[in-house]
Structure formats: C-alpha cells, structure tokens
Amino acid sequence: MPRPGSVWAAALLLALALGRGGCSEITFELPDNAKQCFYEDITQGTKCTLEFQVITGGHYDVDCRLEDPDGVVLYKEMKKQYDSFTFTASRNGTYKFCFSNEFSTFTHKTVYFDFQVGEDPPLFPSENRVSALTQMESACVSIHEALKSVIDYQTHFRLREAQGRSRAEDLNTRVAYWSIGEAIILLVVSIGQVFLLKSFFSDKRTTTTRVGS
C-alpha cells in the first residue's frame, strides 16, 4: 500500500499543475508609437478572461490583439477604451496579447489589464476532497465569492475615477494656459491693429489726401 503522504503529494502536484489558476493585474505605461506584448502559457480547456482599460493619455484608447499559439487572432480591436474578452484555450501553448499605441504621435498612455487564467487557487490543498462542505463552510465560500466581486467592482470604480480625475486635471491646465494665452493674444492683436492702421495712413502723408475738409 503506497504511503498516503506520497500519493497525496502527487495528487497535489497534479492538481497544481493542471488547475493552476491565477490572476495577473498590471498597470503599465505605454509610450507613444510603442507596442508591448505579454505572453502566458495556458493549458487546453482553461477558461481565460482578458480585461483592459486605458486610464490616462490622449483620447484614452488603445489597440489590443490576442493571439493563440498558432498565430490565429482570437481578438482584435482598434482604439478601444475598455473591453473584456473571455475565451477557452483550445490548445496548449503560449498565448500572446499586445497593446499598441502606434497610432499616437506624442501621447503616452497608461493601460490597466487583468488576465485571469482558470480559477483562483483553492484555499486548502485538500480542496479536491470528496466530502461535502458543511453549511458554515459553504456560507464562507459564498461570502468569499461575493467579496471578490465587490473588490472587482471597486477596482473598476477606481479606474473610472482615475480616468475622470485625469481628464479634470487636463482640463484645468488647459484652461490656465488658454486663458493666459488668449489674454496675451488679445492685447497683442489689438495694439498691433492700431499701429498697423496708423502705418497705412502715415504712408499717404506726402500724397496730401485730406478727407472731408
């Protein structure tokens, strides 16, 4: 009879290898005319979700593209502000997704993405046990799931607020520069007009045009 410890350890390894889930949530800066790609090795049959949002920069849009190991494009969108895409991995291999800011000449963007692969790793290694959960435990599990969605909504809200705040700060600086600039332009133009007009009439001085005398 094999030692229960080793059998159990093997099961654990197997579970971890196959059901290896996880969530990568990254916010990075994408310079202008740049493209950044991320890769992940996914096993077949895993359900994955890619969600991205542009937080600051320009028109708050970015190009996104998701490819499977064969190079087949699973998802491609141009100039999107926010999107969420769910797919099931049809084969094993390295999946690649890229964000591109190549259409922008001088604004660099901050992009947030959340790539969820499979399910979150279970709390206990013995989660794959056969016995059913008690009522308390299942209540805890449902509270945990509900709190996870609360945290998810909070994250979305935080991103939208960051985007709104970035727009407000842009507006503030633009109003400041514009008002100063326009005041200067107004003064320069009105003074310039007067002197230009005067210069027209001072040229004709020698030709003695006396109007209305």
Binding site: E25, L147, E161, A183, L187
Partner: protein, 286 residues
C-alpha cells in the same frame, strides 16, 4: 491509538504540503512574462491605499543565440528594482539576482511606480539579446499565504476561512477610505477649474472693453491730428479744446464762434453751416 496515529498523519501531511507549496512558490514563477531589451526599463504602476503590502516575484531568462531558446537560468544576471511612492520619493532601490522577490509596504496612498531594468555585469552575454522576465505582482490581501498562516497559528479550516474573509473586508475598507481621499482631490481640481474659468471670463471681458476704448480714442486722436477727419464732437470743438468744454457760446450774425472764455485764447471762426448747429447747441447747452 488510532486517533493518535491519525493526528500524526495529519500533521505530517500538513508539513509536507507546506514544504511542497513553498518549494513550488519559490522555484517557479510561472504566469505572465514579457521581453525586455538590454538597457530598457519597464515601469508598472500600482494605485494602492496606505499600509498595503505589495509582493513582486520575478524570474529572468536569457535568450541564447546558439540554441535559439531561452536558457532556464543564468547566474550573473541581475535586475535592478526601484519603487517610487506618489510623491516621487524612492521607497526601494535594490539589485536582485536573476530570480527574486521584492516586498514593500505603502505609507502614503496613491500611484506607486515599480521600475525594473537589467543591470548585468557581464555585458558580453547580452550582445543584442533579449531577456524574458516572468512577473507576478500581488497586492493587499493576495499577499497572504493562507496555508502558511494556518500552519503557524494552528487554525482550523473554518477559522482560516474566517481569517480570509476578514482580510478581504479589511482590504475593501482601506480601498473605500482611499476613495474618499481621491474624491476630495477630484473635487478640488474641479473647483479650481471652475474658479479659473470664472476669473478668466471676467478678465477677458474687462480687457476687451478697455482695449476697445483705448483703440477708439487713440485712433480718433490720431485721425484728428492727421486732419483726416474734421475734429468735431458737437459743432466745431477744436482738437485742443475737445477735452475742454466751452465756457459759453457766442452768436454774432452769420458766423458763430465758440470756445474758451474771452481772454483765454483766440476763438475759432467756423464757416456758415455750423451756425445752425451753434444755435441749437446754444439752446441745449445753456
């Protein structure tokens, strides 16, 4: 006796689980990876509330030109990790090996910037190669390693679940607190914009009116000086006396003159057409 044996087995299983998990966690940072050039610096931003722990695990692999694959591990390869807080102050700036783990706790809420760049001492191995970096950043309650906590504090399953829920709720609370602080900043920015727009519109209206008045007066005096327009405002005020009102009107025959009081400069003689105006002026002006 069976109970004792079962308990011993459970303890042994826990220890083995812990060891395995620790080994797995430390040895392989699978998950997301990206490519980075030699001198390239990649920065990531984490917007977090205060007193939040952030753990980052990374693993680097070097591209081998001969075999056209990434080597599993290369000693001598180093990554420099720099973390800046929202005020720009450097929180962490350290050099790690080809595989490492960095941790920091935020003390001010806001955008923390985590920058990674390779700092290899042996530049020859790079020579136009690229580096593959596996990265995994965990924030807040994701940093807790529950099996470890269970083993350390000897918690039952239910207690561990309760602990996890407590941590999650605490994280939510911190985030809500941070949200209030962010909303205040947003409100201040909006109010400042509002003020600026208000002052600017008032200022611009004033500037417009003043420049308009100045333009007209300047041009008028210019044209009058050039004698391009007859200098008249009401019935023949001379350019010099246009600023001064006449003391009295005079009417004599068909000519009229007007101007300053007698003895204060010669009155000017104006031709016939202005007499009627003079007359009217007299009527109105007395």
């Amino acid at each position: 006796m069976a109970g004792v044996w079962a308990r011993q087995l459970r303890v042994a299983m826990w220890h083995r689980a812990l060891l395995l998990l620790l080994c797995l966690a430390l040895s392989s940072v699978q998950g997301l990876y990206f490519h980075i050039g030699e001198t390239e610096k990649r920065c990531f931003i984490e917007e977090i509330p205060d007193e939040t722990m952030v753990i980052g695990n990374y693993r680097t692999q070097l591209w081998d030109k001969q075999t056209e694959t990434f080597l599993p591990s290369t000693p001598g390869l180093g990554m420099h990790v720099e973390v800046k807080d929202p005020d720009g102050k450097v929180v962490l700036s350290r050099q790690y090996g080809s595989e490492g783990r960095f941790t920091f706790t935020s003390h001010t809420p806001g955008d923390h910037q985590i920058c990674l760049h390779s700092n290899s001492t042996r530049m020859t191995i790079f020579a136009g190669g690229k580096l593959r970096v596996h990265l995994d950043i965990q924030v807040g309650e994701h940093t807790n390693n529950y099996p470890e906590i269970a083993a350390k504090d000897k918690l039952t399953e239910l207690q561990l679940r309760a602990r996890q829920l407590l941590d999650q709720v605490e994280q939510i609370q911190k985030e809500q607190n941070y949200q209030r602080y962010r909303e205040e900043r947003f409100r201040m920015t909006s109010e400042s914009t509002n003020q600026r727009v208000l002052w600017w519109s008032i200022a611009q209206t004033v500037i417009l009116i003043l420049t308009g008045i100045w333009q007209m007066r300047h041009l008028k005096s210019f044209f009058e000086a050039k004698k391009l327009v007859p200098s008249q405002s009401r019935a023949g005020l001379g350019p010099r006396s246009s600023k001064r009102r006449p003391f009295h009107w005079r009417w004599r025959g068909r000519t009229c003159w007007h101007g300053p009081a007698p003895g204060q400069g010669r009155p000017r003689l104006m031709p016939f057409p202005c007499c009627s105006i003079c007359f009217i002026g007299k009527r109105q002006d007395r």
